[in-house]
Symmetry: C2
Subunit: 386 residues, 2 copies
Amino acid sequence: MRATGIVVEYNPFHNGHLYHLNEARKQTNADCIIAIMSGSFVQRGEPAILDKWMRTKMALLGGADLVFELPVRFVMQQADIFATEAVRMLADLKAETIFFGSEDGSKEAFIEAAKLANQDDFELLIKEKLENKTLSYGAALTEALHEKIGDRLDITLPNNILGFHYTLANEKMNAPLQIETLKRTTQYAETIPKKPAVTSATAIRKMLLQGHITQAKKYMPSFAYKEIINSSANLMTFAEIYPFLRYRLLTDSPGTISKINSVTEGIENRFVKAARHEEVEDFLNEIVTKRYSRARVQRTAMQILLHFEKQDAVSPYLRLLGMNQTGQAYLSKVKKDLELPLVTTISKAKEELIAYDVRATKLYSLMEGSRVQPDSDYLKRPLIYW
Amino acid sequence: MRATGIVVEYNPFHNGHLYHLNEARKQTNADCIIAIMSGSFVQRGEPAILDKWMRTKMALLGGADLVFELPVRFVMQQADIFATEAVRMLADLKAETIFFGSEDGSKEAFIEAAKLANQDDFELLIKEKLENKTLSYGAALTEALHEKIGDRLDITLPNNILGFHYTLANEKMNAPLQIETLKRTTQYAETIPKKPAVTSATAIRKMLLQGHITQAKKYMPSFAYKEIINSSANLMTFAEIYPFLRYRLLTDSPGTISKINSVTEGIENRFVKAARHEEVEDFLNEIVTKRYSRARVQRTAMQILLHFEKQDAVSPYLRLLGMNQTGQAYLSKVKKDLELPLVTTISKAKEELIAYDVRATKLYSLMEGSRVQPDSDYLKRPLIYW
């Protein structure tokens, strides 16, 4: 059986995701699609608008055969760590290919860029740039890459940067996966005769959050739309998590906050000061700068809320969220060769593996309007769709 | 100038409090009434329904001349610590008398009981009782006292127990204060010709919280009632604090929780387990037992929320919340002889003195519907009523 891996958030699942899933199967001739999905919280550093079980269901209905949870410790990190851990999981699961959407659409550009970036002199070039200017790491990386390969790959575009990091992570692991990429949107329009409407997940979240639910309908497969309607789920945002963040920032000592993983350069003082604002947007606006993006601020906030300390060791593991018959058959086949611990039942897993993801679910359950139970990770088994 | 001290919560201020204030002045022939008042949170371990500035205003309108805040570290403790620190503040402020309400009404009974309890053999008797039975400290104390003085003083009654602890604390400090006590309710009816209606603060809170505001009217002086109506303040309860408690209990490690001052005997595990309940009453019902009263559970919860750790040193200080002209004159007179630090402007105070009370205000501000600003301690000066 031939497996292809995808890395997803499905926040929420839309027509573009369905196309990506179908093309992954078709273009890579895959028997099994393995989705590595963020869980309760997404890489923008906010709660997924729908809980991880609803999104797992959508993934399976959309055609994924296996859905695993990317541990929240890796989701709440910058793109390189997020990508590295997703690639590690796919490689361990013996996927042959990783198939990602990109603005570029040329796998050669990604591979060339990644090979370059994996060389010592490239690291030196970045270091130089970081010394000479007041650049963020991402900006230094972009400049260095541009010097080396010019316009071949623009990694300032959001999907290109993730694709670049998947490819680089793969290079660093000696390329266990083949790289395939799907050019977003445009390619879509060319290949589908009666093309469904496509827009970004961000745009769809906006429609849903503003109550324009029927407006969002045409951008989503009917099963995903129905899931939202029928569950009458409340949609979660950073605003629902903000009261707890304020509690931490206003009552905890700056010393405790400074132990948190991404809290560096005295940023804890700016967080504490901004927490006087009752409105979440006022809080974010006060902290966000060019150098310190909204996503980064939110990820740091989530790390504070989830007590991700600098000293904590984190081990990857394979948490199964859902599967179908194909996925189950594939998993039985590769099970004995897995190096990472496979977790299907939380109560049987080692505490140190699952602690942060279990805590993330508890936090998700605390948000006003959340339908998740604090101990849902223990109550719910992996979803199985035949 | 002759000063008399009272220890109050005014949660909220009612006719019985007004009577107590007036009688304190009359019976002790006082020029100045000094009120030691709990601040953002009360000794039952819950937010005061109205913030400390509103309650200070009521105290001043009711006739108190000076209002000081009993530090929250002492309020969130059992009766003996609460009483000891209040007596310490009054003694330092050179009050001649402490005047408290009691179910008993005989100061001799309190003094006799306190002198007994201040002897070594009494401590031994309590120790014996604690060894032989599964009694709480309070129950052992009650039994020991009953053996010694019979029915002279029933310290199972709420005001008697506080009075006993004021008197005992005073004895232990070599009696800087004279003891005077006012028998509650009955005496009231005898001395006032056109008697205003009196009921407990608990009963009044219940009326207010159930929205029966006009029903509460007759039990309160009109200035206190008007203050509630005009401010259209939202009333705070333990329910408004519960989301933050759940956050702490569900996301923090039991190791961190076990560092909290009153967390002993593995009670943290019961707290964590009960925090799965979304409803605050379900949480409390699961933990409260005869041995572990609701007030004690709530105080422990507040200690968790305010990060009161076992290792923390706590220093008493005199935080002025409000005064009138008489109070100001009295304070100028005793100021130079104070041993405790006097704090009138928070920004000028030492961080280690004020940290917990400032934090308590921040926490108070976080509750849904609270009108308090996180940094109100810095923004508001002592109230002055001429």
